[in-house]
């Protein structure tokens, strides 16, 4: 019942995740942040099996940070996604595979381009202009197909996310009432309201 979405624009990536953390039928927490700052210009959104998500996300975050400390430059989004994908692929055939769905969004400071990667628990990774995880994807991907273009401005992207969220609110049976929306661009990662 969790929902993650990412949209790339001209020079930023807009990401949103729902904020409810539930155990079977009860909502335990309604202001959960399902994202992790990998480094200054990279963010990872996670969903999936509870416990696995936070542990895997923190593991990736610390390794990405370690790379930055050791080498003095931060890992690019592509490298971070590749590293993450490889970890998931290794875990897949181990005793307890991590069951997580991820979106890695980042701004590559070397090429000044935004990137978004869709990664799943099988270790498959794809670079995409927009992506979503969860049942909500069934409603939102078509909206993104229809209205997205590569030179989206931040305001246009905000409208697009609003369209997606409104569609979920009206058509998705599970009430996802609140979302945490973040922008990743050359200035770093910041939370915004729409």
């Amino acid at each position: 019942m969790e929902f993650l979405i990412g949209i790339t624009g001209k020079d930023f990536v807009l990401t949103a995740a729902d904020t409810s953390a539930a155990r079977s039928i009860t909502v335990m927490k309604s202001n959960e942040d399902k994202s992790c700052d990998l480094n200054k210009h990279n963010i990872m959104l996670y969903s999936g099996e509870s416990g696995d998500t936070v542990n895997f996300a923190e593991y990736i975050q610390r390794n990405v940070r370690l790379y930055g400390i050791r080498n003095g430059i931060e890992l690019t989004p592509k490298a971070a996604a590749t590293f993450t994908r490889k970890e998931l692929a290794t875990s897949l055939r181990s005793r307890h595979p991590y069951s997580v769905f991820l979106l890695i969004a980042g701004y590559d400071i070397t090429t000044s381009k935004p990137h978004l990667y869709w990664i799943d628990y099988l270790g498959s990774s794809a670079e995409v202009p927009f992506a979503a995880h969860g049942y909500g994807a069934y409603y939102c991907l078509s909206i993104l197909d229809r209205y997205h273009h590569p030179n989206l401005t931040l305001d246009e992207a905000k409208d697009l996310i609003k369209k997606c969220i409104n569609e979920l609110k009206s058509r998705f049976i599970v009430n996802l009432f609140d979302f945490k929306i973040k922008v990743t661009d050359q200035d770093g990662i910041r939370e915004i309201t729409i």
Partner: protein, 273 residues
């Protein structure tokens, strides 16, 4: 198959508890004799195989592990005076009430409390381990451990055992230098921070009363009453919760035990209202 499971042990002789003579307990311990003939305990009932069959389910679990019951209601919430922790005290095994006087609040140390939902042994053991690690932290760092760190320690301790059958849904709470804190940690590996939690089979019932009456500005007495009433209402509706309501108040100086209230007596008290 239950039969296949039992057949595994058919070759080894089993001993009835009352057949072993009293004198066997005294005198020297002979390890060679002890381990030469493997022995395991059987429930002291007429038909142990039937008894175990009732507690296990061969269809869902080929290892025929004993199903652990999780009947309980525990809750905790933050308010202006700190945190109130309220729990019930019933342990049920299927439809049999095993005990009405279980202590479901674990006093990790004088300023950290843990609650118990799920397997009692799991909760008690892991929270005692947590207490050990918290004390080691204190000795190494010359300051009290924060609730966030304590709950993270617990979550990290149980995560390697994920999917191996630990059943633990606990709330770790205390007052540290950032103020009162409440975390939920469970054996799936999740760890959440929030201002109000209720865990257990009766948690949905408790949430109903708790959420409707919750206000940060409650006085201490009103908050205690809210906790007491929420647990009582949960025990009323949930068959697996009952016994008595145990209440603790977490303050800046540490936790304080408020009282133990029998649900049967509370029922008559609230009846008139």
């Amino acid at each position: 198959m239950m039969d296949a499971f039992v057949n595994r042990f058919k070759e080894t002789p089993t001993f009835w508890a009352d057949e072993i003579s009293m004198l066997d307990g005294f005198g020297s311990y002979d390890a060679v004799k002890e381990f030469s003939q493997p022995v395991f305990e059987i429930p002291a009932v007429q038909n142990p195989v039937k008894f175990l069959k009732d507690c296990t389910d061969e269809n869902s679990d080929s290892e025929c592990r004993i199903k652990i019951e999780h009947g309980t209601t525990t809750l905790a919430f933050k308010f202006q005076g700190g945190i109130i922790v309220a729990v019930d005290s019933r342990a049920s095994a299927g439809s049999y009430i095993a005990s009405q006087t279980v202590k479901k609040v674990i006093e990790i140390n004088p300023y950290l409390l843990g609650t118990m939902a799920g397997g009692a042994a799991d909760c008690q053991y892991w929270q005692r381990q947590l207490g050990r690690h918290c004390r080691l932290y204190e000795l190494r760092n010359k300051e009290r451990i924060s609730v966030a760190a304590a709950s993270k320690l617990l979550a990290n301790m149980v995560y390697p055992y994920k999917r191996m059958g630990i059943s633990m849904g606990t709330m770790v709470t205390g007052w540290d230098k950032t103020g009162p804190n409440l975390f939920y940690v469970d054996s799936d590996g999740s760890r959440y921070k929030n201002d109000v939690f209720s865990v257990g089979s009766g948690s949905t019932f408790a949430y109903g009363v708790l959420d409707s009456g919750l206000d940060y500005e409650l006085s201490t007495n009103d908050a205690i009453e809210l906790g007491r009433r929420s647990i009582y209402q949960a025990t009323y509706r949930d068959a697996a919760s009952g016994g008595s309501v145990r209440i603790y108040h977490v303050k800046e100086q540490g936790w304080e035990f408020i009282g133990l209230y029998d649900v049967g007596k509370l029922h008559w008290e609230y009846c008139g209202l």
